[in-house]
Amino acid sequence: MSANVENFPGTPLSQADFDEGKILTTHWKPKLEYGWDAGVAISRYLAELKNGRIIGIKCSRCRSTVVPPRVVCEWCWEPMDDWVYLKDTGTVNTFSICYIRWDASRAKEPQIPAVIEIDGASKGAGILHLLDEVNADDVTIGMKVQAVWKPADERTGAITDIRYFKPT
């Protein structure tokens, strides 16, 4: 059937259609605001970040240690409640060098987001964070890194209490 159709429906618009005022549009800018509760597991995680420590949680059944902590083991579907302090060092699992911002506009300085496997957690258990104090071209998967913390009096109990990770 597709071969027999000459004109598929749909009317593509061009910039000229807008410049010439041919198209009518309505704009709306919502103002939305939310307050998210951290919950049981993440509240403890955030409180420990404020103390300058990374805490994970261990399943007493399958022995998996994960971070960020959560109240249920996704493999066993059993409650998790065995809290474990982890190191603030880890290994780069993967990374990117990002030149754009959230709205697709160009950033002045590239950022280096990475998945970092945290030492003390099970293999592969990582968190999303940023790398810095490193030349972007020198970052490799497998690189050892450590957290750079905000000073204690500036920490608020947020993932940003770790400013970034840097090579060890």
């Binding site: 059937m1 597709s2 071969a3 027999n4 159709v5 000459e6 598929f8 429906p9 749909g10 009317t11 593509p12 618009l13 259609d17 198209i23 704009h27 709306w28 919502p30 939310y34 998210w36 951290a38 993440i42 995680y45 955030l46 994960v66 960020p68 959560r70 996704e74 699992n93 993967t94 990374f95 990117s96 060098i97 990002c98 030149y99 754009i100 911002r101 959230w102 709205d103 697709a104 506009s105 987001p113 990475a114 998945v115 592969g124 258990a125 990582g126 968190i127 999303l128 964070h129 940023l130 998967i141 947020a158 993932i159 940003t160």
Partner: protein
């Protein structure tokens, strides 16, 4: 499990466009009407409607299912809207399939629509809510991060270079030159891809599909109805879908295990034991060039890390042994998210019926596979059609 045979008997689609004059419901109507006309059916012949579309935040509309219901022909009929992110297009067809396979309905119209252009300045903003509000969003992520992180992990684990991956963008954009609905068809070179703007390394401008407006619809029918409607029904031989952990930073991104699970479910249902021999044409989800390769491996159609070689050797070309994205894929035809997934099913439908025109793959394919991918990059949906 007693399930009835179900066939796809009609398909329709709009052009895929950067920005369409039509509203979403107008696009949905155009595609739905075309699908029904293609098999000489009317809305009265339709027992139920399944709709797929992206989150309401894209369009700034609450309850898009309800908004699109008139265009989709859903009034006074059993109607459902489903959504699994980018996986929605094939997932919606799976919903249509079990509406009919279950015996509850004899016919189902499946409609997928997306109008991404409404979201200003860029729909990336609406995507940001996929990140965890407490542990991730404070880092001010952008959507491309997760794809770049996955692509880098895939490349590094297998020692794959960007030039090997760029061949997919070259192939698909060229295939799209033969698709009358294509938004980004082009003759480009590997060099063009490698020289395009770096967004979030390793992702560059030409590695990515565009944002699009568009709609696609298919008609599904039970065996006794399908045989009355057409002498060329495309039977649904297998379906599969699977969801992996949403803790994406704890999942090894180099291999889409959930796609393998979905594929195995579909192969089992279809009685397919050697997919590389038994699948003749493939439409894997290709919002990025590396995703086509990643998915071919998850679908067990290539060994892990070997899909780039198949591409380089022409195996996946339209006239190769296993044509992949003969439509032009999302890289070439465009990516109105839910509609792009259903476009892949309509392409397999047209290919199996020998109706794909200039895009027709040689050798009268008997079995084809469409796959979509989405949510927090951890859902895989597969449908296998056969004639």
């Amino acid at each position: 499990m007693a399930m009835r045979k179900v066939a796809v008997v009609g398909a329709g689609m709009t052009k895929f466009m950067r920005r369409a004059q039509e509203t979403g419901r107008e696009l949905a109507f155009q595609a739905s009407r075309m699908a029904l006309d293609s098999c000489e059916m009317t809305l009265d012949d339709i027992d139920a409607v399944a709709l797929g579309t992206a989150p309401d935040a894209f369009d700034g509309l609450h309850m898009k299912g309800e908004y699109l219901s008139d265009g989709a022909g859903a009034w006074h009929k059993p109607y459902m809207r489903c959504y699994v992110g980018g996986g929605t297009g094939v997932f919606a067809a799976i919903q249509g399939w079990y509406h009919v396979a279950s015996g509850l309905f004899d016919t189902c119209l499946v409609v997928c629509e997306e109008k991404m252009s409404s979201c200003m300045p860029h729909p990336q903003g609406a995507f940001l809510t996929i990140f965890d509000h407490t542990t991730e969003r404070a880092l001010k992520p952008n959507l491309i991060w997760i794809f770049a992180l996955e692509m880098n992990r895939y490349m590094t684990m297998h020692g794959i270079e960007k030039k090997d991956i760029a061949l997919v963008a070259v192939k698909n954009k060229r295939n799209a030159l033969d698709h009358p609905c294509a938004q980004l068809a082009a003759n480009i070179t590997v060099e063009d891809v490698l020289n395009s703007e770096v967004l979030a390394w390793p992702v560059q401008r030409l590695d990515i599909s565009p944002t699009s407006d568009g709609a696609v619809a298919i008609v599904m029918a039970a065996e006794h109805v399908a045989k009355r409607i057409t002498d060329k029904p495309a039977w649904v031989r297998g379906v599969g879908w699977s969801l992996d952990t949403a803790y994406w930073t704890s999942r090894d991104l180099y291999y889409p295990k959930y796609v393998e699970y979905a594929a195995r479910m579909a192969y089992d249902m279809a009685g397919i034991t050697e997919p590389r021999k038994e699948i003749h044409v493939v439409e894997p989800y290709d919002p990025f060039d590396y995703k086509e390769l990643h998915h071919l491996e998850g679908l067990l159609l290539a060994d892990k890390g070997d899909a780039p070689r198949l591409t380089a050797e022409g195996v996946t070309a339209r006239d190769g042994n296993m044509p992949v994205c003969p439509s032009g894929g999302m890289l070439g035809v465009g990516n109105p998210i839910a509609a792009a997934g259903l476009m892949k099913i309509s392409e397999i439908f047209w290919q199996l019926r020998g109706e794909a025109g200039k895009r027709q793959v040689p050798g009268q394919p008997k079995t084809g596979l469409a796959q979509s991918w989405g949510d927090l990059m951890q859902v895989g949906c597969v449908m296998i059609l056969g004639v």
